[in-house]
Structure formats: structure tokens, C-alpha cells
């Protein structure tokens, strides 16, 4: 079984900031997007079960070594990094274009993506990539069960009222959630082995995408302003005994017309 995991390198949660106007500051360090680690973990388990190879695919204008090395240390066989300065400022449209172009150069039975990203928050790149490639799209996965014999994959898709069991022929595209289970920590051995693993660096020319169709110049969305929200007043602290504390809470809620 061959699995490609779309792994986005995002600014470390809690440290995100903007530079030069509206650019995301990537100099302060990048980590693997949280949801992408869940699908990576699910993919690694499937490779352990069925054999085969898991490759990560990252698009990022700057080196994303920490995120990629961690995925390799967790067990990915190799990594592909589409890295080109022209990618800076790309929106979801360009990201979908580039990732689908890169996937055309790779072989797979399954492509995995996270349900959404901590920085972009769109949750749409997966559906866009699947549509561009003409792949069946199975989203919000809480469980992924391929059947290599039958050539199909079954997914538990979270719904508003429980879950749907959905199925499609492979190759297929699956976007997954936290319910797939906690990602493993890289072992020391894994970290050592990761140093020998291949990180292929592809340019836009390598994937056959025109630089003019990506990056800030081609972006279909523009930021007008970015401002901190109005500051919170700071907490009123209550340290009284439970009876009094409870009264204070109710008084506070009443003063704000919340009870």
C-alpha cells in the first residue's frame, strides 16, 4: 500500500505573527499541523499492517525541516517538499493547484490530509485537491479501513448526528480528524534513521506549475487590516469559601445580565 500524507508546516501554535504587512512570519519556527499528525499516525499504522510506503508531501516557501524531520522520525519513508520562493503568499486556490500537480508525479493508493489547519483554518484544500485529481473524497474520518484485496477503502465520517460509513474504490483521498488517535512520539531510533531519509526538494518547474499562477501576485484573497481584538479587562479573582464564591459568581453573571 502506498500512502501520501499532505503535511502542512504551520507556525508554532501560540507563536504566530505577521511580518511585512500580511505575511505569516515563518522565521519563528514551524511545526507539523496538528490534524496532519493524526492522519500521519493513521497512515503509519496502515503501513505497519499492510506493508508498503508512506511519503509526506509539503508545500512551503521556506525550509520546513522540523516538521518534515519529525514526520520522518515517526516513520514516513521519505518526504517531498515543494519549495519555491514564488510560493510565498499563496492562498488556498494556489495551494490546491500545487499540491494536485505534485501528486500527479507521485504514486499512491491513498492520499491523506488533515481536516483543517491551525493557521489557514479553511478545511477546503483537501476537497479541492481531490476534485482536481478526480479522486473519490472521503472526509472527516474518524476511522480509515482500506481493503487492499477488494481495492476499496471504508471511512467512518463524522456527521451531525453520529457517523456515516462511506466507501470508495482506491485510489482515494481521505481527510481525517483527531478521532483517528494520538500520534506517536518519534523514538530515538526513529530520529537517527530520519537523518538518512530522503527529502526531495521540488520547484514549481518540477511540478509544472507557472510561478505566475501562485504566490501573492496570484492570490484571490487580500487582507485589508489585521488588528488585535479589544483587550479583556483582566480577571476579577475570587478566593472566598465555596458558599461565598458561588454567590459571587451569580452576582457577577447577574451584573452582566447572563442569568
Amino acid at each position: 500500500m502506498r500512502i501520501v500524507v499532505l503535511l502542512k508546516a504551520v507556525p508554532v501554535v501560540g507563536n504566530e505573527k505577521l511580518v511585512d504587512g500580511w505575511r505569516v512570519d515563518r522565521s519563528a519556527g514551524l511545526e507539523a499541523n496538528g490534524n496532519d499528525e493524526y492522519v500521519l499516525e493513521a497512515g503509519l499504522k496502515l503501513i505497519e499492517q499492510h506493508g508498503g510506503e508512506l511519503v509526506t508531501l509539503t508545500m512551503c516557501p521556506t525550509p520546513a525541516m522540523e516538521a518534515i524531520r519529525k514526520a520522518l522520525a515517526m516513520g514516513a519513508a521519505r518526504a517531498v517538499h515543494v519549495q519555491d520562493p514564488a510560493l510565498a503568499g499563496s492562498d488556498t486556490l494556489a495551494t490546491g493547484l500545487v499540491l494536485s500537480a505534485a501528486l500527479r508525479k507521485l504514486e499512491y493508493d491513498l492520499v491523506f490530509a488533515g481536516a483543517d489547519t491551525s493557521d489557514g483554518q479553511g478545511g477546503i484544500v483537501g476537497a479541492a485537491v481531490a476534485s482536481r485529481l478526480g479522486l473519490p473524497y472521503l472526509s472527516y474520518a474518524a476511522r480509515i479501513e482500506p481493503d487492499p484485496g477488494a481495492g476499496t477503502v471504508r471511512v467512518r465520517r463524522i456527521s451531525a448526528t453520529g457517523y456515516d460509513v462511506i466507501e470508495a474504490p482506491m485510489p482515494a483521498f481521505v481527510a481525517g480528524t483527531q478521532l483517528l488517535g494520538e500520534p506517536r512520539y518519534p523514538s530515538l531510533r526513529g530520529i537517527m534513521q530520519a537523518r538518512q531519509k530522503e527529502i526531495a526538494s521540488w520547484t514549481l518547474a518540477d511540478v509544472g506549475v507557472e510561478p505566475s499562477s501562485v504566490g501573492s501576485a496570484a492570490s484571490q484573497t487580500e487582507v485589508d487590516s489585521a488588528t488585535p481584538p479589544p483587550p479583556r479587562g483582566g480577571a476579577t479573582v475570587v478566593r472566598e469559601a465555596p458558599e461565598v464564591a458561588a454567590e459571587r459568581i451569580v452576582e457577577f453573571l447577574a451584573s452582566r445580565r447572563l442569568v
Partner: protein, 325 residues
């Protein structure tokens, strides 16, 4: 003539979803501000029946009665909207930030090659197009963004506007399903209902959330009691979801839901950054924590230091007493 603004709807139990009604009201408002025409579009089984109540919000409704059969609805909606959009050339599509809505938006982005403003907490008309307000970087920044071209998709969060009925209801136009090149087949084999999954925390005005401090699945009883007394719903941290004390549908934070209730009560929650990003734009935040130095104190409005098991039941009783019950 300047292109129309479409609200792309969803149907659940034969009715337009609450988010769909909000999109209709939003489209009507944007149309009024821009002199354009708003329209709601409903695709699915029973679309023209569901269109009756959606039309009450003002915009005319295009209803495409097409049964997705055993396919997930998002693909059927996206195919039909793409065909309609090519035919009628609207400028802007408002799509809800639900699971199905985000799938529809991603498919439409690829099929139409349109840009998308994602996760909008508010939308208004600015210049020549919609301007979306987004909360980014864990709520530390609020951005205003617009679409560069004269068309695009705006993905709108629940409660960006309140759904309102219009003085004049819209008309309903039934449209035959377009013959489309279908997206690759995915088959729904089974639909499973789970009581624990049915909780609309994204729409709730009051949330009482419990964290690891509740100590175990039974500890949630005091949280539930307060939620009930206040007329709210129960939220949770990932720690307690991972522990299996409560269902994932309740989880708030980076890999759970983003919420913005008027009141958020955090009981036994430390306030880790990944939790904070999902709730810090709440109106009023009240924290109950044994640890005076818990990070939640840094962004709460009221920080109560103490044992939640001693405090919550007393608050519930006092709230009930106030309500005279």
C-alpha cells in the same frame, strides 16, 4: 449587470439548516448594501419543499430537487451549484462553515477556480465585494479581507448574523437538475445515530465546559447540572475527550470546535493554548479552578479559585432559585 450573491444552503430533516437561514439573511443584507440581487440555492432531496420556509428570509430561492441517493450530499450539491454558476454567472457564493459546507466549498473552488475567504465570523459589503472578518492566530488578531477579483466564495461560520424573516418573502424557482460530469463515486454504506453526537455547541449562547478537573466521566454530572440551570450546553477539553469521559462533539479548541457564546464557564480547565484558541472570543469567561496560577486566569473575566465540586452545585442551586424554580 453586477453579478448576484448566492447563499448555498443545506437541508437537514427536510428543512433548511439554521446556518442556511443565516446565509440567506446575510445575502439579503449584502444585496441591499450593494444594489445587487441575492438568491438562496437549495440542492437535495426535498429542496423545493424546504425552499418554502427559506424564502421567508427574503431572497428568491432556486430549488434543485435531486436525490443524492447513497452518495454523500456535498458532492451532489457542489456539482449542481457549479453547473448553475456556469450558467447564471453569480459573483459571490456564501457557503456555511459546516462539515458538508466546507467540503462543498473545496470542491467548488477546484471546479470553478475561484478564490475563497474562509472561516468568516462576519461579512459586510465594502467597495466592490464582500469583506470578511476572521479571527486568526488563536484569536490574537482579527483580520478583514476581501476577494481580489470580482467573484469568489465566502465560507461563513455559524452565528455570523442572526437569521431574520423579511417583510416580503422571496419567490421559489424550481430548476431541473443539470446533467453533470459526476464527481467520483463515494457510497454511503450506513448512517449511524449516536445521541452523544447531537450537540450544537457552535450555536449555543451559553456553554459550561469541563476539563480534567472533573476527575472522571461521573464528574460531568455537576457540569451538566449547571449547564441545564443556565440553559446552556456542555463543552469539554481534548484531555477529557481523549480519556473517553465525553464525546468528541463536545470538544472545543484547535482540533475541536470554535465557539463564541455570550457566556463560557470553564470548570477544571487549565486553559492550554489549544483550548484557548477555540473559546477565547467568548463574551464573558468565568473560570473555576483549584490552581490560582492556571493559565485560564490570564484570559478569564472572573477567576474563582476553589474546588469545582463544592462550587458548581451551589451556583446551580442559586441560579435555579433566582429563576424561581
Amino acid at each position: 449587470m453586477a453579478g448576484e450573491i448566492w447563499a448555498v444552503g443545506e437541508i437537514a430533516d427536510g428543512q433548511p439548516t439554521r446556518l442556511t437561514r443565516e446565509l440567506a439573511t446575510l445575502a439579503a443584507g449584502l444585496a441591499a448594501a450593494s444594489g445587487r440581487t441575492a438568491r438562496s440555492v437549495l440542492v437535495g432531496a426535498g429542496a423545493s419543499a424546504a425552499a418554502e420556509s427559506l424564502a421567508a428570509h427574503g431572497p428568491d430561492v432556486l430549488a434543485v430537487d435531486v436525490d443524492a441517493g447513497d452518495r454523500p450530499v456535498a458532492a451532489a450539491i457542489a456539482e449542481q451549484i457549479a453547473a448553475l454558476a456556469r450558467d447564471r454567472q453569480p459573483s459571490f457564493l456564501l457557503v456555511g462553515a459546516s462539515n458538508d459546507g466546507r467540503d462543498v466549498a473545496g470542491m467548488l473552488q477546484a471546479m470553478l477556480d475561484w478564490g475563497a475567504l474562509v472561516n468568516a465570523a462576519g461579512v459586510r459589503w465594502q467597495g466592490d465585494g464582500p469583506q470578511a472578518e476572521m479571527s486568526v492566530f488563536g484569536g490574537r488578531l482579527v483580520t478583514q479581507s476581501h476577494l481580489a477579483g470580482d467573484h469568489g466564495i465566502v465560507i461563513v461560520r455559524p452565528s455570523a448574523v442572526a437569521a431574520e424573516e423579511a417583510a416580503q418573502p422571496g419567490a421559489i424557482e424550481r430548476v431541473g437538475a443539470a446533467a453533470v460530469e459526476p464527481l467520483p463515486a463515494v457510497r454511503v454504506v450506513d448512517r449511524i445515530s449516536e445521541a452523544s453526537a447531537v450537540v450544537s455547541i457552535e450555536e449555543a449562547p451559553i456553554i459550561v465546559a469541563g476539563g480534567r478537573g472533573v476527575g472522571g466521566p461521573d464528574g460531568f454530572a455537576v457540569v451538566e447540572e449547571l449547564a441545564e440551570a443556565l440553559g446552556g450546553v456542555v463543552g469539554a477539553t481534548r484531555a477529557v475527550v481523549d480519556a473517553g469521559w465525553i464525546g468528541y462533539a463536545h470538544q472545543i479548541g484547535q482540533t475541536g470546535k470554535t465557539v463564541k457564546p455570550s457566556l463560557y464557564v470553564a470548570a477544571g480547565i487549565s486553559g492550554a493554548i489549544q483550548h484557548k484558541v477555540g473559546m477565547q472570543t467568548s463574551g464573558t469567561i468565568v473560570a473555576i479552578n483549584r490552581d490560582p496560577d492556571a493559565p485560564i486566569g490570564e484570559f478569564a473575566d472572573l477567576m474563582v479559585v476553589g474546588d469545582l465540586f463544592e462550587i458548581l452545585p451551589r451556583v446551580s442551586a442559586a441560579v435555579r432559585a433566582r429563576r424561581g424554580g
